[in-house]
């Protein structure tokens, strides 16, 4: 080979090595995701030698520390569900209102300050929310509703709802902002008011982005939230069965894991059971993410046409 060819070859090799290095970094995320699944499964699978998976998911009692442990996570599954539904009832109207206000109505001057403020709100650590719930909301709810305890599902829902607002607001705002101008202009041209344009043209056009925001920023986050619920919902593994359960303590899956891992002996059934709960959580959020991804992707495809 001539000199020129060798140096060309060297350079190509160099470029390719760099490219593969970057590829490896990009692939890390998916590798980590895979490892998370593997490790949760590896550490959690032991529990299914003791209980059937269906009994694990639908069992109504949780007493993992007994000599003959009873491992039913239905109370926690429903606990997470209750708290999440409650939080969404708080967060979706507030978050969407803020998104519409910022994207369509706010005067340009205050638009950016509001956005920055909401961004800051999103940055408040969950332990701080939990702490404020503990010292302020818990006693307040107890007095106001004359409850035996202020550590309730409602307390968790209110806090988580406020926590989810900034995320829902900012993702929805992006979705609304992305609606092309002509949609609006066409609507105005037909003599619609601004409000009619928003409800009949803009929101329908951004509906998939907004749904994704609610699923991702709302449900997925809230189900996985740990510290806040741990600190304010009382953590009693009682099955919530009616609307009144909002005023009683509940325990979520996340709280169980955080609360009990310290006392569970490594390799024991209890330890496995907690990892199995982690696996359930992982699966739920994974599915929610796939759904959101699917909605967004289909939406993009539809937009291209």
């Amino acid at each position: 080979m001539t000199n020129k060819q060798t140096s060309l070859f060297r350079r190509k090799l160099h470029e390719r090595t760099i490219k593969y290095f970057f590829f490896a970094c990009a692939a890390t995320s998916i590798v980590v995701l895979f490892f998370i699944a593997i490790f949760l499964f590896h550490e959690g699978v032991g529990v299914f030698r003791v209980v059937e998976i269906t009994d694990f998911l639908s069992g109504r009692r949780w007493a993992p520390a007994r000599v003959q442990p009873i491992l039913g996570i239905l109370p926690m599954l429903l606990g997470s569900l209750f708290v999440t539904v409650g939080a969404m009832i708080v967060a979706v109207p507030l978050g969407l209102s803020a998104a519409v206000y910022i994207a369509e109505i706010a005067p340009p001057k205050i638009k950016n300050p509001i956005k920055s403020a909401i961004e800051l709100l999103a940055g408040i650590p969950s332990v701080v929310y939990g702490f404020i719930g503990l010292v302020f909301l818990v006693p307040w709810l107890q007095e106001t509703f004359n409850l035996p305890t202020g550590f309730t599902a409602l307390t968790g829902s209110l806090l988580l709802g406020v926590m989810a607002v900034p995320i829902i607001a900012s993702i929805s705002e992006d979705a609304i902002y992305a609606v092309p101008r002509d949609f609006r202009e066409a609507s105005y041209a037909l003599g619609a008011t601004k409000w009619q344009t928003i409800t009949r043209a803009v929101l329908p056009a951004s509906i998939s982005g907004i749904s994704a925001a609610i699923i991702l920023g709302g449900m997925s986050r809230v189900i996985g939230e740990t510290m806040t619920v741990l600190m304010v919902t009382g953590n009693a593994p009682i099955i919530p069965d009616s609307i009144c359960s909002f005023l009683r303590p509940v325990r979520t899956m996340t709280a169980s894991v955080a609360l009990e891992m310290g006392e569970a002996a490594k390799g024991g059934i209890h330890y496995s059971a907690l990892f199995a709960i982690g696996l359930v959580l992982f699966t739920i959020t994974f599915l929610l993410n796939l759904i959101a991804d699917f909605i967004l992707h289909r939406y993009k495809e539809a937009q291209k046409r």
């Binding site: 990009a26 490892f35 550490e43 209102s97 961004e119 709100l121 996985g224 600190m231 907690l274």
Partner: protein
């Protein structure tokens, strides 16, 4: 009312409600901040910030927790920032659309959705136990690094996408190789925006509790961490322990408020820095 008036009225009502909701959110935020600030400011003193806890954590300061949080945030950023920037370089500069890229993107999106406590479990199983790193600063930093990785990747991607295509074409047309064009023109242009992403990661790492409970955090350490293999105290965990797990939770309320105020101040300080850098950058950008 005629139709036009009715429509106007409906619009005015709707707008008022939307504005109300937005300002309610802002009011909640102001409420949270002023509540913590007013209750916590009394606890703040030089000693509180620079001394170790005393008397079974019922007195004294939070110095080791501040230091621990600082180390943890730094460790997390040191690991996640390069990894995230490199990943973003691949996604923006090197990859064309394709199955593999779609898969990687799904991976990133899903990683972003994994609950923080599940990261804690993962860190416990992989770093603490399997790799034998123990409950340590390193285990916690690694766990948090993967937790913030999707965010760092997204921020870096945005930073790279904001670099005009003309810069790349210009460099390549002068005979730069791909890597040279990235290294000499694209990256330097994107650095401020990438740093903003890094700063945000710092803020998130500082505020997280769930991922470090099993991987890095200790109730109390008599000394500052002397290596990356030491367990650490951290502000968020300290608040949780003092408020929820300690037997003296009632008598240490003022210390808890003080700690919460310090944590909020740190996190806000970090986030506000990022916001300011970003808006300065937008103002100064000339391409």
């Amino acid at each position: 009312m005629n139709r036009v008036q009715r429509r106007r009225f409906a619009q005015a009502t709707a707008f008022a409600l939307l504005a109300f909701a937005t300002f309610l959110i802002l009011a909640i935020m102001v409420g949270i901040i002023s509540f913590v600030a007013s209750q916590g400011i009394g606890a703040i003193s030089w000693e509180f910030l620079t001394a170790f806890p005393r008397s079974g954590m019922t007195e004294g300061g939070i110095f080791p927790a501040i230091v621990g949080t600082f180390y943890l945030a730094m460790g997390t950023t040191l690991i996640s920032l390069p990894l995230g920037v490199f990943a973003a370089i691949y996604l923006v500069e090197y990859s064309y659309q394709g199955r593999l890229i779609r898969l990687i993107r799904i991976g990133i999106n899903n990683l972003a959705g994994v609950p923080s406590i599940v990261f804690g479990l993962f860190g416990l199983a992989l770093f603490v136990r399997h790799l034998g790193l123990g409950v340590s600063l390193l285990s916690g930093s690694l766990t948090l690094a993967f937790f913030v990785l999707p965010l760092v990747i997204r921020a870096s991607e945005e930073a790279l996408l904001a670099v005009p295509q003309g810069f790349r074409e210009g460099a390549l047309a002068l005979g730069a190789t791909k890597w040279q064009s990235v290294y000499t023109v694209v990256l330097p242009t994107a650095v401020p925006a990438i740093l903003t992403g890094g700063i945000l990661a710092l803020g998130i790492a500082a505020g997280q509790t769930a991922p470090i409970i099993f991987t890095a955090a200790a109730f109390f350490t008599p000394r500052l961490p002397d290596s990356i293999f030491s367990p650490i105290m951290a502000l968020p965990f300290h608040i949780y322990v003092m408020a929820s797990e300690s037997a003296h939770f009632a008598v240490t309320r003022h210390l808890q408020f003080g700690t919460a105020l310090v944590l909020l101040a740190i996190v806000f300080g970090i986030n506000i820095t990022a916001i300011i850098i970003r808006s300065q950058m937008r103002k100064r950008r000339r391409w």
